[in-house]
Amino acid sequence: MRSFAPAGPPVVYPDRSGGPFAFAGDIFAVADAEIRKLRHDPLELIMRAVQPTLWLVVFGQVMSRIRGVPTGRLSYLDFMAPGILAQSVMFIAIFYGVSAIRERDLGVLNKYMVSPISRTALVLGKAISAGARALSQAAIVYVLALLMHIHATLEPLNVAGVLALVVLGSAVFSTLSLMIACMVKSHERIMGMGQVMTMPLFFASNAIYPIALSAGVASVDCVRQPADLRSGRVARTDGAGRREHPWPWRGLRRAHRVRGPAGRDRDPAVSPAHRVGTHPEHAGLIPAGSDAANFGKCCLHGLIVIVRPRPTR
């Protein structure tokens, strides 16, 4: 091989390392760039206010009029507002990776990659800027809540605690999103992954109904599924002559029937531990058998619902 270079390393140039606060400065530099973008484009803030507004004004009002969800002494809107706060903050954070993929496609990310800042500072800076975004979202929900006369606790310590949790939560979810972005590398896939994560988390949480209700439904369903499959009751008809499917939403309907006062002991596959919510006055007050296990089941359950094709009738 022809060589166009003399042998050995060349003359060494002077080193230019950062000072002791360089790391903190790097994080700040990355975060500040993101926050400035937000300042230039306040339209984004307004658009992101649409979803929580719809949830609170439309869904919340309707549900509180129906009184379909037992929320104890709280009004339904009071019960739901913190859930919507958490939900809207989490949704933004979980789709944070989308912007990272866009930056990577454009090449803007290269600017950071060839700069002397460490990869850790880059990720932490992005996480903090996601936290700042979430704060703006939290402010929107607080304003909405005040306008709708929702009873928010406005003690400074309380609010500070909420905001701290909001920042921490969105930093965690946004870094998770960044990790996924690193793996999937395309817009379409990260949007899909975001949907797969957000909806199950949302419906398995107690954002819009007490967790005991959802845990009961989901666990009944999850317990019943394998039994159904094992005993081969895949497509038999039930008492009313309708075809019975092992699909989750059929299970949900059965679960509701089972929990009705007349049918409470009809199905032996439902263990007593899963009969939370049998009496309306207990609903939401009795903790479900094990919330952690139920939470896992619910996530899984949501995945199943999303992944499975809808059966044709």
Partner: protein, 279 residues
């Protein structure tokens, strides 16, 4: 143009080399993108890395800017090993990638501010250096505007400004004039020349416009299929072939192929995208 403060970090007259590679090799699976390349770029030189799409130019630049690890061989940039001292290399280089590196959602000034912070330009000096850089590339009046509203040529000039804010010893530019109209292209070359005069920066530039390389570069390396096909000053290379020869002819002679061949779908897509955003 008043000289910018802060002397270049090395003696421009010494024969030290700014970049040196030894048998530098990069594989992507079965494909060998760069095959045992050994070159040397002298300090204060404007060096051109020429070749068709897919010749290995961008892979070379990515290895030298520490974005990609070499499969084999070694390389030193500004005196530091690109794999073992990548942090130090990054502190001493600037990089103007072919893809966008200015952020459209920020103003020109803010883009420079972010760069100044990333490269630890002392806070006391930041404003002064940003103003100087803006003046050097002729963007002082547009500094407050969002980069989204800049023209292609203005974005390129801003990218050059942000890559030189920290006065790098070596500046890498990947296809800096793709997609620019002739006037904007000429302006970019003028800025490149001025950078070297004012700051004593060493420049490594990739391009596939041969006539530009002839005008601008002190020395060039012609790459073909991952190897260096020819190396030397443009005039010397042409003289080997005769009076009326061009660098295109030189490339034909040494590589046995025209400059138009080569390049995969991704390469073409990338070039087109760059051309679109800059026009």
């Amino acid at each position: 143009m008043a000289p910018l403060g802060g002397a270049a970090p090395f003696d421009g007259n010494s024969p030290s080399s700014a970049i040196r590679t030894a048998e530098l090799t990069r594989r992507f699976g079965d494909l060998v993108a760069v095959k045992a390349v050994s070159i040397e770029v002298r300090a204060r030189e404007i060096f051109g890395l020429l070749g068709p799409n897919g010749a290995g130019k961008s892979t070379m630049i990515k290895m030298l800017t520490t974005l990609l690890r070499p499969t084999m061989g070694r390389a030193w940039v500004a005196g530091f090993d690109v794999t073992r001292e990548s942090g130090r290399v990054r502190r001493n280089i600037g990089y103007v990638p072919q893809a966008l590196s200015a952020d459209g959602a920020l103003s020109g000034y803010e883009n420079l501010l972010v760069s100044a912070r990333l490269y630890h330009v002392p806070p006391a000096e930041r404003t002064r250096r940003i103003e100087q850089a803006l003046e050097l590339v002729g963007l002082a009046e547009a500094a407050g505007q969002l980069v989204r509203r800049y023209s292609g040529g203005m974005i390129r000039r801003l990218e050059i400004a942000q890559a030189m804010l920290h006065r790098p010893a070596v500046l890498f530019m990947d296809e800096p004039t793709v997609g620019l109209d002739p006037v904007a292209r000429q302006a970019v070359w003028d800025h490149v020349r001025r950078l070297r005069e004012v700051l004593g920066t060493t420049l490594l530039i990739t391009t596939h416009y041969m006539e530009e390389a002839e005008d601008l570069c002190d020395r060039v390396a012609l790459m073909h299929q991952g190897r260096i096909a020819a190396f030397g000053a443009p005039l010397e290379l042409k003289a080997q072939l005769g009076d009326s020869a061009t660098l295109d002819d030189v490339f034909m002679h040494f590589a046995g192929a025209t400059i138009e061949t080569g390049g995969g779908y991704r390469e073409v897509l990338r070039t087109r995208r760059t051309a679109r955003r800059l026009s």
